[in-house]
Symmetry: D2
Subunit: 147 residues, 4 copies
């Protein structure tokens, strides 16, 4: 992948926040693991916007003939969070491949640096036929900025 | 509305069940009111299928040029339900109008007839232009069967 | 209810915003009616905070021996909203009764005053025995401020 | 781990089904990856019940002083599924460790053996102090049955 920057970088971290809402917890008041994945998608949307990519034209773009479905996701949930808490999410591009890229997420409390949860999500570029294709140039360029 | 049957009827009740799942409650273990509306939609889907209407061709049908969005919903939540409980839903057509129809839902516990929650949902027929239109004949016919 | 202000008032409107997220729509890209009710709860949480009431100590407060479950909700969905749109929510206290109060919600687009959706939610004060009780003084006072 | 059975086994597969519901998709009608994780939790609930473990007394059991939070989850989403489809879920215990166990999930269409999605979820036993502890004997016994 000569055209792509190296996977490690010191900047390029996007910061966003999410408030734990009423329907986000399990019956015991602890954030349901499923909600973290929902928060991750929200972090992706905010990340894309920060790079000038409108999410509603990026996950599926009919006119340019591509889609970017999430094909893999992983999360580790280290400390419980509770209803009403504010979570800070740090989002990075962990890897850019010719046809895919990987986000990395870290969740921190409102104050302090205790890692509450972490995760990754892999998006693959597909064409109208749902077959993998090369990432559109402008997407790769936008994702690689600031790294 | 001479073509429609009267709004009251003794049969035509559809029965379905829903299990309260892990993510359906509030932080205190009580079913979140939002989840009841989700259960109502599920009851509509099961009701439609019982009348021979595939939900995925009924809420929006491009080839026949109609959609059936929910334009109004109401619910009253009388008794708390908890994680793991089985809820029985009784679904009726409360009213059929030329361009719309109204579902009525009643939620009961696994055993007994204590009314846990009740609600309604109104669906309006629209055309490709999102303007209200007459309900397709076959929809009206299917909904009116067994009343 | 001599202690309560009249139900109509020209101020006391709380403004908040919500972004339509990836999982909030139906299969056709239109905001699912259930999501509006979730947005309403979020608006309640923001409203309560603006009045100095922490949601996580207001919906259920063990030490003070009260809860505030939502016992009734209603919504009318007038115009479709789509993924990625910003919705502005105006929240008011429509009514304060001795044991209950009613929120009113109006949804507007990012710009303009077209009413997209509207709704209400009724919260009742209950004691540890789940029986209706008088609203705690400090709750009534906080809700009545600025009206 | 001499007390645990080997990780591979030919039986012990639990089968359940889930219908793709109206709110489970993304704006393009494809099942949202977050929904798969919700389906996985549902499969866990059904699996536990098939082993005689009531979910509402298993994820958190105050009287026996243990909880079983999900501390890690992973999913790969191979083929798109759409609104209205029936998904068959095969659930296995992939691994039982002294303080944790791992579920493996495979999603198949209503007919055929094309793998639509797969995933895992790791549950750790914790005590009232949220520290990891040995799995309760009866849980280990129930999970190991039929392997």
């Amino acid at each position: 992948m000569p055209a792509q920057p190296p996977a490690t970088f010191s900047n390029g971290v996007h910061h966003t926040e999410v408030r734990v809402r009423f329907g986000d917890t399990d019956p015991y008041g602890i954030v349901y693991f499923v909600s973290y994945f929902r928060y991750c998608h929200r972090a992706i949307e905010e990340f894309l916007k920060s790079r000038g990519l409108a999410p509603e034209e990026t996950f599926k773009n009919v006119s340019e003939g591509f889609g970017l479905p999430i094909v893999e996701a992983w999360g580790r949930f280290r400390r419980p969070s509770r209803y009403g808490e504010l979570l800070r999410i740090e989002t990075r591009i962990q890897e850019v491949r010719p046809k895919a890229f990987v986000f990395r997420f870290e969740f921190y409390p409102e104050t302090g640096r205790e890692l509450l949860a972490e995760g990754t999500a892999t998006l693959v570029a597909i064409g109208a036929d749902w077959q993998a294709r090369k990432l559109p140039e402008r997407i790769t360029a936008a994702l690689s900025r600031g790294r």
